[in-house]
């Protein structure tokens, strides 16, 4: 196994564990951002430039910030420390095991592809763009409509609150 991949993987998983187990929510978000960064570096290591940079741009630049805003705007700080395991931890464990089982079943059951040599620049951004605009144009448009609908919904919810005041 490639040493760099191993190091990136260990760092990413460690950051993910930290994101779950740290007691301060802001620390958790920052650990999550490190985890996102690890995933992005993993993509870059595998030669997927576009996906890696998009991962940084979207997840660190937007999603992590959004979570930070959500925490700061909803919590009033100073919450008492809660026990590490809450009472329903085994539900979560069961679901996690089920998802893991599903994924590994799908991965192991699928037909194996030859491991390709890891070289940068295997796909250019132009190729990705052309594919998105021709072969995968319908899923792209559907996703766009879905996101627009979600955004409109968020605006409507915020709007009604403003009027009631």
């Amino acid at each position: 196994m490639d040493l760099t991949l191993f190091i990136i993987g260990v760092a990413t998983v460690a950051a993910a564990i930290a994101a779950m187990s740290l007691r301060n929510l802001i620390h958790c978000v920052l650990a999550l951002a490190v985890c996102f960064l690890g995933v992005a570096i993993l993509f870059l290591r595998l030669g997927a430039e576009f996906v890696g940079f998009a991962q940084i741009l979207v997840y660190i630049g937007a999603v992590a910030i959004l979570i930070v805003f959500a925490i700061l705007l909803t919590r009033s700080g100073g919450e008492e420390p809660k026990p590490f395991f809450n009472s329903q931890w085994w539900y979560g464990l069961a679901i996690a095991v089920a998802v893991f089982g599903c994924l590994s079943f799908a991965i192991l059951g699928g037909k194996s592809i030859q491991p390709q040599s890891i070289t940068g620049n295997s796909t250019t951004v132009k190729q990705i763009g052309t594919e998105l605009m021709t072969t995968y144009v319908l899923p792209l448009e559907v996703m766009g409509i879905l996101l627009t609908a979600a955004m409109l919904g968020a605006v409507v919810i915020a709007w009604q609150k403003g009027e009631r005041k």
Binding site: L30, L57, G61, A62, V68, N121, V125
Partner: protein, 405 residues
């Protein structure tokens, strides 16, 4: 490059002095050291050059602001160990020593680890952003296929670090400043990125090297001398002012309101690192706008190409843009928070979308004679309609005085 070497071989080699020097230096080393040496020779000059430029820019800025405000500015510290004063050029050295030996104060309730990590982590993206900018023919640290995307991804990761700094300080002003900074940077990131779409559409590549190469020739081949390029450059310039937290958009740091925002609990060298990251961000942003719109390292006329090496033209353009930044800082009042947000979402965003449409039209018309009136008219028309309707929506009237008349 191929044309240049064919027509003017001597001049072209003059342009390539730096590249040849690096190659011959690397060639001296044993084979196992060549790759690391080549990497270091790409990184270290950039770090040294831009750190020096940072020191010079602080001095230039203080001098420039002083002149704008009818003062002299720093003029006491000369060059060390000499009697020459040289208009206070030694000021950056004195400032640097002062920052180094100042006491480093960490608030008792601060989150010590994050408080320490924030300035360090901020400097990493600030330097990384220089990695994709082309400084001359063949002088680019890495020519990524998705170079532009890399630049924006790096820029986006500074926001979280600034939040880190503000939150770890445990100071209400610091947190307010950090929240303001995030809100501003996210709002202006959108027009910043969208205003570059027109260039990407025209060139058909995200690589900054091919974008610069598409503008070779005379100055009228630069993207800024097309209707979409001009409008895109103005939008990009305004948004880059906001991204660099520069003057009309320095709300996150507003000295008179929230006493320097997220910087408030930082002193000594950590403060200097923040300061440096801010200036480096400004240089990188300007370097990007030079590469996108102002012809990169190309000379304004084709016959001048090769007389001076590309990095000199790049530096000249960079200094002009820095002077523009300083000028704006000296003359524009700070915006209010709501004005800032309205400007970003109601004006900058629609305008940048219109520029994308205009760039598409330009590509299909493929003729400047039709292109200029149609694309320019579209941008101007939408600009007039938008600004007029926004102005009318404010309901401003002629000011009437009750007692003064």
């Amino acid at each position: 490059m191929s044309q240049l070497t064919l027509t003017t071989p001597i001049l072209a080699t003059a342009d390539q002095i730096l590249v040849n020097f690096k190659q011959s230096l690397v060639g001296l080393l044993p084979e196992i050291l060549q790759t690391p040496a080549a990497v270091m020779l790409s990184i270290i000059p950039i770090m040294i050059c831009f750190a020096t430029l940072f020191a010079l820019a602080t001095w230039l800025e203080r001098k420039g602001l002083g002149r704008i405000q009818n003062r002299i500015g720093p003029n006491r510290v000369g060059l060390p160990f000499t009697k020459t004063r040289l208009y206070g050029l030694g000021q950056p050295i004195a400032d640097g020593i002062k920052m180094l030996i100042k006491e480093d104060i960490v608030p008792r309730n601060a989150d010590k680890f994050l408080h320490f990590m924030a300035p360090v982590a901020l400097l990493i993206p600030a330097f990384l952003a220089f990695a994709v900018i082309p400084y001359g023919e063949g002088i680019v640290p890495i020519d990524l296929d998705a170079g532009l995307l890399f630049f924006f991804a790096i820029g986006a990761s500074t926001e979280l670090v600034i939040f880190c700094a503000g939150w770890a300080s445990r100071n209400k002003y610091a947190l307010l400043g950090a929240m303001r900074a995030i809100a501003q940077m996210i709002s202006y990131e959108l027009p910043l990125i969208i205003s570059t779409f027109s260039v990407i559409m025209a060139v058909g590549s995200l690589s900054l090297v091919s974008i610069v190469n598409a503008q070779s020739g005379n100055f009228w081949d630069w993207h800024v001398f097309t209707p979409w390029g001009l409008a895109g450059f103005i939008l990009f310039f305004i948004a880059s002012l906001a991204e660099a937290n520069r003057s009309p958009f320095d709300i996150p740091e507003g000295e008179s309101e929230i006493i320097a925002g997220h910087l408030i609990e930082y002193s000594g060298f950590k403060y200097a690192l923040f300061f440096m990251a801010e200036y480096l961000g400004m240089f990188a942003m300007n370097g990007l706008s030079i590469a996108l719109f102002l012809g990169g390292y190309h000379a304004p006329f084709a016959f001048l190409e090769g007389w001076l090496p590309g990095p000199v033209w790049f530096l000249a353009k960079l200094l002009v843009l820095i002077a523009l930044f300083i000028w704006i800082r000296g003359t524009m009042p700070r915006l209010r928070m709501d004005q800032l947000m309205n400007f970003a979402w109601k004006f900058m965003l629609p305008m940048s979308l219109v520029v994308v449409v205009a760039a598409g039209l330009w590509k299909f018309l493929a003729n400047p004679v039709f292109g200029w009136p149609v694309c320019g008219g579209l941008i101007l028309g939408v600009h007039l309609l938008l600004s007029r309707s926004l102005f009318d929506a404010r309901g401003w009237q002629k000011r009437t005085y009750r007692f003064a008349d």
